[in-house]
């Protein structure tokens, strides 16, 4: 085998097109996971113990099974389920599958953030006669979420790296394109190297950005003083 720079430069623009699909899919999955993550937090707080227990168990199930199995289920098995089954296009199936899977992780992150807010903050909000909605939006979440930004960011990067799983159900993004090119020209090393480089080029600066954000939010009110407020 010889390394062919010609092939290398030829596949860069091709895979670059796939990069946008990978990024788009990552963002779509992540938004879905962020919103749905709140759903798990919300249902866990339903006063009915049975209902919150059922949902906690469903979340645990999703968290404990491989995302690839979930993707296959949503894409291949779901259409065969009577009554509720529908055939989804690969992109939508990937958003649902990966988004749902990661929403269960993000809900744990939210939960840890919410539980880290001192009980006194709830009590002061009640004493000031804030409504439930105002308590959450003005007092609890603004304190619960910033400390979790590094964790949320880490999950974004992890998810970015899991998105190639979507190629297994036919989403044509970077990996799929590299693979197709390889199959056609019997050249795998260069295109797959380009894919790896693109992932590195995005993941590493993102990790740096996240650690910067972490510092910024920690400066705003340092942790030690919060407990004594």
């Amino acid at each position: 085998m010889t390394w062919d720079w010609g092939v290398f430069f030829e596949v860069i623009p091709l895979i670059f097109k796939g990069l946008w699909i990978t990024i788009g899919l990552t963002i779509a999955c992540y938004l879905f996971a962020m919103i749905f993550g709140f759903f798990w937090v919300f249902v866990a707080r339903i006063p009915s113990k049975t209902i919150s227990w059922i949902f906690r168990w469903i979340a645990e199930f999703i968290r404990s099974t491989p995302p690839l199995v979930q993707l296959f289920f949503i894409f291949y098995a779901w259409p065969m389920v009577p009554v509720v089954g529908v055939t989804l296009n690969p992109f939508v199936a990937a958003i649902l599958g990966l988004g749902l899977h990661f929403s269960t992780y993000l809900s744990e992150v939210y939960r840890s953030g919410i539980e880290s807010v001192d009980k006194g903050q709830w009590e002061a909000s009640t004493a000031l006669n804030l409504s439930t909605k105002q308590k959450w939006l003005k007092i609890i979440l603004p304190q619960a979420i910033p400390p979790t930004i590094p964790m949320l960011g880490n999950y974004l990067i992890i998810m970015f790296k899991e998105v190639p799983l979507a190629s297994t159900i036919g989403v044509v993004a970077m990996l799929h394109m590299a693979n197709d090119y390889g199959a056609q020209h019997w050249k795998y090393v260069e295109p797959l190297t380009v894919v790896a480089l693109f992932f590195l080029l995005l993941s590493y600066p993102s990790a740096l950005l996240i650690s910067k954000l972490e510092k910024k939010y920690n400066r705003r009110f340092d942790k030690k003083t919060i407990s004594t407020l």
Binding site: D118, G120, Q121, E123, A124, T126, A127, L128, N129, L130, S131, T132, Q134, K138, I139, P142, Q143, R220, F221, D222, T225, I226, T228, L229
Partner: protein, 257 residues
Amino acid sequence: MGKPIVNYSKIHKSFGDVDVLKGINLDIKPGEKVALIGPSGSGKTTIIRMLMTLEQPTSGTILVNGENLWQMEKKGQLVPSDDKHLHAIRGDIGMVFQHFNLFPHMTIVENCMLAPALAKKNDKKEVKIQAVEMLEKVGLGDKINLYPAQLSGGQKQRVAMARALMMKPKVMLFDEVTSALDPELVGEVLEVIRDLAKEGEMAMILVTHEMDFALDIADRILFLNEGVIEEEGPPSELLVNPKSERLQDFLARFNKR
């Protein structure tokens, strides 16, 4: 002085197997200053927390301005209060906490502005003017744009008072507001409370361990012991000539310190 602004009748409260309050009957008149004293675990704090709707009584009724706080009428029957009912009554009550509970993500003027700006669709500028005035009143007019973390304990507690006063409550609850403070900062907080007491129109219920202070500002002192009001009366009588043996013991232990 007319009808009471707050009335507790036959209030019981238990946490699990522990009976904290065993039948509390209590009237607070408008503008009256009442101090609650007693050993720790006697249920002092629970009494005011139930009025602030932070704890629900196990049985009994609390009336605020004649309205039933923890129960409401629905289709001719008494049912436990929902959020809306509590919200409507709670506006007359304010509370200052032992651990301040300021909102750390807001400046102190924002802490004071938040609730009034959200509660009524007040003009934000008007609310800000009031908040600044209130902070000036508690001696923090030059610090309005600082965050709570930048203040001393005494300053934080004065902000907490300003924040509670912004809601113009008819009854203000003080839950051991000086207990978490360094001794040299206690004075500045008591000073603000004393000024408020002089203004007069607001009823105040203070859970406190500061006997001299209670003697000074309270119209009436209640001595709580093991979940019941053991003795009550004007401070001069109660603290100087305690009748019950338990209160005598309690005060003796206090004076020894």
